[in-house]
């Protein structure tokens, strides 16, 4: 049984209850014991002075690639979970495009066991939609959920067959889980390595038009309407997508969406000079798209911020742009980027941001956490919202270093991350 922890005098923001004010938070027995003023520390409690800091429910990232099993040289469940708590995340969802694919209870169980061994952030596996993610035959959702999966996705790839996607949405209703789709029309996007626009023209690279994403977004929305199932749209990047989602929500459909920090922070101009750390899928888009994503986060069209944390080896990214793999890591820069780009610019308030990074992710995927209500899991993060720090990839807890933000000064990061009522991360420098 761990020591109780008293977080004293911080600005306590609980988006689940709309509360925001100076208070103390007491964690005991692995749970939130109390939130209030002048809480007396029980015997043996660890007291943390939080004046000037923000105390919030732990951040939750619903889109992370942990690479284990199969590519442990890039990342493991343990290192990923450590990177997560360093970034302020108490819970992450692990995408199934591992090797072997997470399409059976064996892999789900393995991932959960590795996470428990690491005892850092909670890891919620996402199972595959189709066996081997081949897009042909549905995986056994029941088995996956029974073993601990919280959703299904073929991420990495789209569910290309509309028939299969329909079946998945309908079948998933039985288990109350969302189907998370990587929205990309495969023939439109084929061969492309960045956004199709003026920059791809100048660089002589084949582009992926915005329509490639929007076509699938529209399709998934229509299927959500047809089936009544819950579709979660991964890593949205275009203004057209945001418009479609807004209308779908106005119609009351069960459509949720996520956006990644790089899509509200960068544009395709970052690809100039053939910078492979600016190569990901969906690609960085235009100014207007970035603006639309930000607005979507403001008005709730985009429900959550997720990182799509995608570790890659230095060698793999040290290649000609066409040949380099897609993706960047993001767990340890997400909060800093969000503070710098969304809160400090005046677009979102800090409570609104924490809603998108903690409470709503939990609700969308039906996960424990995202709240400081009494009795809730003891997953809490103490954030320093004002500290300025320089991104130094070599200091990352992640095994990989592929980030376009190296050397950039960000504002805000996690000081202390508590999972299950125990300190999982404490910043020393």
């Amino acid at each position: 049984m761990s020591r109780p922890i008293l977080l004293r005098g911080g600005r306590v923001i609980d988006p689940s209850r709309g509360s925001d004010g100076i208070a103390d938070v007491l964690l005991q027995g692995g749970r939130i014991e109390a939130v209030g003023l002048n809480i007396i520390a029980p015997d043996g409690a660890q007291v943390v002075e939080c004046a000037g800091k923000v105390v919030a429910p732990g951040l939750i990232d619903v889109h992370v690639h942990l690479r284990e099993p199969g590519q442990e040289d890039l990342e493991t469940v343990a290192t990923g979970a450590m990177a997560a708590v360093a970034g302020g995340f108490t819970g992450i969802c692990a995408m199934p495009n591992t090797d072997p694919v997470c399409d059976n209870q064996g892999v789900v169980g393995f991932v959960i066991a590795q996470a428990q061994r690491a005892a850092k952030a909670r890891v919620f596996p996402i199972g595959a939609v189709s066996l081997g993610q081949k897009g042909q035959q549905l995986a056994e959702f029941g088995e996956l959920v029974g073993a601990g999966a919280v959703a299904v996705s073929d991420d990495g790839k789209p569910v290309a067959s509309s028939h299969l996607m329909r079946m998945a949405l309908e079948y998933a209703k039985t288990f109350g889980i969302p189907v998370a789709d990587h929205c990309e029309d495969p023939t439109l996007a084929a061969g492309g390595s960045m956004h199709e626009g003026i920059i791809s023209t100048r660089l002589g690279l084949k582009g992926i038009p915005a329509a490639a994403e929007e076509i699938m977004v529209a399709r998934d929305i229509l299927l959500a309407e047809l089936t009544g199932g819950h579709v979660h749209l991964c890593h949205m990047s275009t203004r057209g997508s945001v418009d479609l989602i807004r209308r779908a929500k106005d119609m009351g459909l069960k459509v949720t969406a996520e956006a990644c920090p790089h899509h509200f922070a960068l544009t395709h101009e970052s690809c100039l000079g053939y910078n492979t750390n600016a190569k990901m899928n969906p690609p960085l888009r235009e100014d207007l798209d970035r603006e639309a994503i930000r607005q979507g986060l403001k008005d709730g069209t985009i429900d959550v911020i997720a990182t799509d944390h995608a570790p890659h080896h230095y060698d793999a990214k040290e290649r000609e742009f066409d040949d380099a793999p897609n993706g960047i890591i993001g767990l340890e820069t997400a909060f800093g980027l969000a503070m710098s780009e969304l809160v400090n610019t005046g677009l979102l308030s800090l409570p609104e941001l924490l809603l998108r990074m903690s409470t709503t992710p939990a609700r969308t995927f039906n996960l424990p956490g995202g709240t400081l209500a009494t009795g809730a899991p003891g997953d809490v993060v103490v954030l320093d919202p004002a500290v300025q720090w320089v991104v130094k990839p070599d200091a990352f807890f992640s095994k990989s270093r592929n980030t376009p933000f190296a050397g950039r000064t960000l504002t805000g990061r996690a000081d202390l991350t508590i999972v299950r009522g125990q300190v999982a991360f404490q910043r020393t420098s």
Binding site: S200, T201, L203, G204, L205, P209, Y274, E320, D323
Partner: protein, 317 residues
């Protein structure tokens, strides 16, 4: 005085107008060297240059080889097809291995856009881009511009239409950048499915029909249509391409002025250009080839040193 060219020549997009003019002016004396009995000067004697060609190319490689040999450099040809991944050795490793043998310059042609720049950032030798993917083919752009300058005396105000598959053309891109910097008016002409996204943002106008381009331009640069475009669905057939977009003698007859016709080669006779036109009096296709060697000699000469010494006189030694 233009800033020094730097270590590499990877793209005309990165050069200033002055730097482009410097290369063209430097090419002039080198034209004369190729007309001598002994077509050799010792300017690059003792320099080792590697021609690293990952894409099959006869004419460009030979042109570079002549340029190198006429400057008395030692040349080594490395030909390799397939991606780094399939060959098992990365582009960087290939180049670093060569560099460990103390070479001075690399001329690279590669199928990945950005590969010349990628290499230039990682090896100490000078890197010259002989065509990287769909991005640029700077020496081709330069020789095209030199050929136009020979014909018209200047580039400023010249109307040049680049016709064909701009989407996949590095020659097209280099020409666009170089011509615009020197003050020409540039238009692109071709089927909409083969024009790049937002191409007007580069500063060019789009002329949908070649007949209109012929009415407007002083010179046409006809790009090669690669046969793969048909299988990939960009155009329905070569026959239709020739019928609708080909530079035929009949179309050329409608020109209001003496149009200059260029083609980077190799030509698909009967597809983008008819033989009558290619071999006719308006064509400067062969002078382009001659200028190619001179331009490449100029580039090699300039990169082997730095910027020119403008200060002349004061007594020779």
């Amino acid at each position: 005085m233009p800033t020094p060219l730097g270590k590499d020549l990877t793209a005309l997009e990165y050069l200033s107008a002055d730097q482009i003019r410097l290369i063209l002016d430097t090419a002039e004396p080198f034209k004369e060297v190729s007309e001598r009995q002994i077509k050799k000067v010792p300017a690059l004697r003792g320099k080792t240059i590697v021609n690293l060609f990952f894409e099959a190319s006869t004419r460009t490689r030979i042109s570079f080889e002549f340029a190198e040999k006429r400057l008395s450099a030692d040349t080594v040809n490395v030909a390799s097809t397939g991606s780094s991944v399939s060959k098992g050795e990365t582009l960087v490793d290939t180049a670093r291995n060569l560099e460990a043998m103390h070479i001075d310059m690399v001329v690279i042609r590669h199928h990945a856009s950005g590969s010349a720049e990628f290499l230039g950032k990682r090896i100490r030798s000078s890197v010259i881009n002989a065509g990287d993917g769909k991005h640029e083919h700077p020496t081709q752009g330069l020789l095209d511009i030199l050929t136009l300058r020979d014909k018209f005396g200047k580039i400023e105000g010249l109307k040049v239409a680049i016709c064909g598959d701009l989407l996949h053309s590095r020659v097209g891109r280099s020409n666009i950048h170089g011509l615009l910097k020197l003050g020409a008016e540039v238009a692109v002409c071709g089927p909409a499915s083969l024009l790049p996204r937002d191409v007007e943002s580069l500063g060019v106008t789009v002329i949908p029909h070649i007949e209109d381009a012929i009415q407007w331009a002083d010179a046409l640069n006809i790009l090669r249509l690669q046969l793969e475009r048909m299988t990939a669905g960009y155009i329905p057939s070569l026959r239709e391409y020739n019928r609708v977009f080909g530079l035929t003698a009949a179309r050329l007859d409608q020109a209001p002025k003496d149009l200059v016709i260029m083609h980077p080669g190799p030509m698909n006779r009967g597809v983008e250009i008819d033989s009558e036109v290619a071999d006719g009096p308006h064509s400067v296709i062969l002078p382009q080839v001659t200028n190619g060697v001179a331009v490449r000699m100029a580039v090699l000469y300039l990169l082997a040193g730095g910027a020119p010494d403008w200060a002349q006189g004061g007594g020779s030694e």
